[in-house]
Amino acid sequence: MSLNNMSLGTLVGKQYLFKWKAFAGVFNSMIALQLLAIVFSAGGVGQTGTSTGSVSIDLYYYSVDNVVGFTMVWAFFKSILITTKSYRNDDYLFVTNRLSSNLANILFVFSASVVAGLTAILSGYVIQMIQYVQGNTFLTEANPLSLGEWFTGAFATILYILFIGALGYLIGSVVQLHRTLVIIIPVALLGFLFVYDFNEPGMISMFKFYFKENIFWLFAMKILGTVLLLFAASMLVSNRLEVRK
């Protein structure tokens, strides 16, 4: 038993800093995935063109959509990873409880999403640099993004990654309840993908709720609200775990 009397804030802060250092390796996998997505984007993500007699014209599109997509996949699995037993046992280096451990994890997921979102967006410059090095005729938007639009898009990207990360954290927490869930949950998710009719009105309205919202602050409220609910659910689930389970 420890004689130290620490406030929750101090404890969470210390655990967060520890996690930031201890989990630094997860960013290597993020970098590897983003580089892989850049390689996959090397041939372009779309193309349009026409051919008239002796003239063929092709306009190739490049984008960081692949990088953002891969980063979301990374965020999902990274969040599951930090709920696993080996990562949770690291917390016992500190005077800790479930609440502080979860809060530190949530802070880590938040900051990792910021890093992942920003690097995903900035990777667009690498794609453009590759075009320049190859000597291709690259056209840029005549009416480019304003600073405000750039930041709005960057925040939206971060929020999407955070959303997927929070979802992964909940699934990771649920899986810890019982070993069999390690199999049941992925199978159920895959089965859901095959069986569920995504044109069903409920799914369409949910899709519109998040992805068709074009007022940024409303979108941010929706995503942050959902993320809070997901994290709250994760905390409730993990509170049901036995000590060191």
Binding site: G46, Q131, Y132, F138, N143, G153, N214
Partner: protein, 236 residues
């Protein structure tokens, strides 16, 4: 802005990026011993490379700015054929004249052919004009060809015309022109909140074909021998 558009500029940039990354690794290893493990320095290096690429691109501005047209502009593009059919060729705005050639031909006979005859890049029309005498005027008209709102005309080489030994020959500049352009589309989280149309984010058809016409004007007293395989038509 500095304009380094030599052959070696891209190689120099690669060298600077790789060299800079290596120097940064050495600097971190030397001055921040706690960051010796690669887990710690890989992310800062990666971030530094991404930011450096952004700074270099902002500094060089190596790309061409799109001159994307509005939908109204594309739909209002005029029909050169209707001007030809109605005989109002002179009313065609000079902005659609892409190239002009003036020749002098003193013989009474003039042969005209195109190469390749079946895949020549423009429709050919001939007009006999009183008072032109020995002059042969060749004018290449072109209305824009839009791909995703971008006017591609500037990337297409116009045909070539030569007059030699009584033969006016129209040629494609090369056997087949391949124009490849590249552009960057903003990622989906950006397009969700941008009301104006950005590149590659248009719902309507992205290709608008223009018209290409070569008009040959000769004196009315000339006798013309038109290559039957070249699809040459008289204006009147």
């Amino acid at each position: 802005m500095i304009n380094i558009n030599g052959v070696f500029a891209p190689l120099l940039i690669l060298f600077v990026l790789i060299g800079g990354a290596l120097l940064l690794i050495r600097f971190i290893s030397k001055h921040f011993p706690t960051m010796r493990r690669k887990e710690r320095w890989l992310l800062p290096i990666y971030g530094a490379v991404l930011v450096s690429c952004g700074i270099i691109l902002a500094f060089l501005e190596p790309f061409e700015e799109r001159t994307a047209s509005s939908e109204e502009e594309r739909l209002s593009s005029l029909s050169l054929y209707s001007y030809i059919e109605s005989g109002n060729i002179k009313k065609i705005d000079s902005e659609y004249i892409r190239k002009e050639w003036d020749f002098t031909h003193t013989d009474g006979d003039l042969r005209i052919s195109s190469e390749p005859s079946h895949e020549f890049m423009a429709s050919i029309f001939v007009e006999k004009v009183p008072g032109l005498e020995n002059k042969v005027e060749v004018t290449y008209y072109e209305t824009p060809l839009y791909v995703d709102g971008e006017d591609m005309s500037n990337y297409i080489r116009p045909p070539e015309a030569t007059l030699s030994k009584g033969l006016l020959k129209l040629n494609n500049p090369v056997e087949h022109q391949y124009v490849e352009l590249y552009t960057f589309r903003e990622p989906f989280p950006y397009n969700q909140f941008i009301e104006r149309k950005m590149v590659g984010n248009q719902n309507e058809s992205s290709v608008f074909h223009g018209e290409s016409i070569i008009l040959i004007r000769v004196g009315e007293e000339k006798t013309l021998d038109l290559d039957p395989d070249s699809y040459i038509e008289y204006v009147n």
